[in-house]
């Protein structure tokens, strides 16, 4: 049985915070397929297109027929724990600091034997379900979980090391005015977040969501304007040292493409909020969070960007907004590089058109705030990097994978936005 995590005591100011270390993060190119699947929570393995052999570790040719056509396919994650060990000493600092560490050898029903992490609630030599997760080096690793859910299983130290679980953690939501802010704050509270700071720009303007936000236990409204470097720096100075999860939901959206608008005014606003806003937040909060990724139960763990699915491909009706989101998406990849060594995970939630004033002219389906909140919280619990929220976003990523050029041509029919 997993021992439930207790709220961490106040930090002893005389104790040095651990410097972040990383599990081994070097992989062959073939094995990055596992990472790509883990980034969105899928269990996939190389499957030979010619003979159907499911193989692991990933190879450059089929170990049965030497075919080099080896697509990654979703595979049943069930198997049997053949053997296990508990590593009590390691030459790798990350595992040395976290010993003892349970691992095992699982024979998948689909064939291959997989060395994997083993959840504490898995009984010896029992049936297991493998979960493909990102570890703190940002690479896909597999973990054996018990077949049936067990109480508090998320609190297992190995599983928690893979996840970005909000439980007992302190969160900043950057924009109290975004329609999704109250639902998001509530969902984080329900998931066990202890403090939920919510940034509010221009307190001299009324915020109709203020009461709903302050009614949620743990919520504190803080002055924050992501377009104002001073404001971002000031808040980072105030709460940056105890922030575990940052959720950037600040967004400026107006319809229209470059030709329809005829000026760069809104485009500047879009870039100021959607792109430069993210950059200012990263420059102010990133270093502090990166230094606290090994800080015990409430360590810094994740950076969440709520992006438009139009970051993937330009939507003509929102041409300039799409461009600003593409910029933000690209910057998030840069942050992934810069946060990599610390293990701070950047999770992008790609959201389809939302049910609000600025998407009024679009037909359904549109995304409501509870769906965004669910995607964020579940994504954090599963430790994901990429989440697609809403039918439009899911449809778009599927089309994108089938062929980005085809999708681009579909999205740029010629009607001016």
């Amino acid at each position: 049985m997993t021992t439930p995590l207790t709220p961490p005591p106040k930090k002893n100011p005389l104790k040095r915070s651990l410097t972040p270390t990383s599990p081994p993060g070097v992989r062959s190119r073939a094995t990055l397929g596992l990472t790509a699947a883990a980034a969105e929570g899928r269990f996939m393995l190389q499957t030979c297109a010619e003979c159907g052999t499911v193989q692991y570790p990933p190879r450059d040719a089929c170990c049965k027929c030497l075919s080099v056509d080896l697509p990654w396919k979703d595979i049943s994650p069930t198997g049997t724990l053949l053997a296990e060990s508990t590593v009590r000493t390691s030459t790798n600092l990350y595992f040395r600091e976290r010993a003892p560490w349970r691992l095992g050898s699982v024979q998948l029903d689909a064939g291959p034997t997989i060395i994997c992490h083993v959840h504490g609630d898995v009984a010896p030599k029992s049936r297991v379900i493998l979960s493909n997760r990102l570890d703190r080096s940002g690479q896909g690793v597999m973990m054996a979980l018990p077949e049936q859910r067990t109480p508090d299983m998320e609190d297992d130290p190995e599983l928690r090391a893979m996840s970005s679980d909000p439980k007992h953690r302190r969160v900043l939501i950057t924009d109290a005015r975004n329609p999704n802010a109250p639902t998001l704050a509530k969902a984080l509270h329900d998931a066990g977040a202890t403090m939920i700071f919510v940034g509010e720009a221009e307190s001299w303007l009324p915020n109709p969501q203020r009461d709903a936000l302050t009614a949620i236990p743990g919520v504190e409204i803080m002055a924050l304007d992501v377009t104002d470097t001073t404001s971002v720096k000031e808040l980072a100075g105030e709460i940056g040292g105890k922030l575990d999860i940052l959720i950037n939901n600040a967004q400026f959206v107006r319809p229209g493409g470059a030709m329809a608008r005829g000026d760069v005014g809104f485009a500047q606003d879009e870039m100021e909020v959607n792109y430069f806003g993210l950059m200012r937040l990263a420059q102010a909060f990133g270093p502090g969070m990166c230094s606290r990724t090994a800080d015990g139960v409430n360590s810094a763990v994740a950076w969440v960007n709520i992006l438009s699915a139009y970051a993937l491909v330009n939507s003509a009706d929102y041409g300039c907004f799409s461009a600003s989101n593409a910029a933000a998406y690209s910057l998030s990849q840069n942050l992934r590089n810069d946060f990599r060594a610390s293990g701070l995970r950047v999770m992008n939630v790609f959201v389809g058109p939302t049910e609000d004033d600025w998407h009024q002219e679009l037909p359904p389906p549109k995304v409501l705030p509870p769906a965004v909140a669910r995607s964020v919280v579940q994504g954090l619990k599963d430790g994901l990097e990429d989440v697609y929220c809403g039918d439009v976003a899911k449809d778009m990523i599927e089309r994108f994978r089938a062929g980005p050029k085809i999708l681009e041509r579909e999205m740029t029919k010629g009607q001016q936005g």
Binding site: E202, W204, L205, P206, D225, T227, D228, T229, D357
Partner: protein, 257 residues
Amino acid sequence: MSTLTDLTQRMASGEVEIVDLTHTLDPDFPVIILPPEFGQCARFRMEEVSAYDHRGPAWKWHNISMSEHTGTHFDAPVHWISGRDVPNGAVDEIPAEKLVGPVVVIDCSEGSAQDDDFELTPEIIEAWEAEHGRIPEDAWVLMRTDWSKRRGADYLNMREDGPHSPGPTPDAMRLLAEERNIRGFGTETVGTDAGQGAHYTPPYPAHFILHGAGKLGLQCLANLDQLPATGAILIAPPLKIRNGTGSPLRVLALVEK
């Protein structure tokens, strides 16, 4: 003794005081809010370029950005459609002599304390003239409301039906612009018009009538309570922006003690 030598000596001795009528340019200072489908007034923003560091070892400087109508600012006639054709209507064209001149202050602070939508009417102007004499031609007229002492949400005073703050009625503007032929009109609020100024005919009379008549505007002024009703000199030169419709500026007054 020359006039200016005399003036500088009096300034040094404190007999002539310099009053700063300007709010600090601050990213969080309110700006006028339009319905969101319109382009908005850019807030004041400042980005560090270097600060005696690797980006510039011996110097510190910032890049700043804002609207022409951010903070304590000047409105030129071309700001409004009614003033688009007046001669020398852009900030760079306004003759320098218009930027320094006499100023009178109409104190509406008591009424504004009672009523957020307090109106400056011809009656109030005439009552003021009964006390202080006729408003001189080509003078700045400032409406004192003590609104500059408000902070945060109280300043814009935004409600469901829009902002609520004092301002002139169309008739008051006609009186000042057309009959008194003033140089310009200034307020302590975020605009020269009342918060609910959209509901007058014409809408926004302090813009429409004032600029249509080629007159100037000043808003977001501070410290009007330190000015006498008459007799002060206002120094209000905007940045010389080509075809500019306005400009943030430092507004000073010379006041004889």
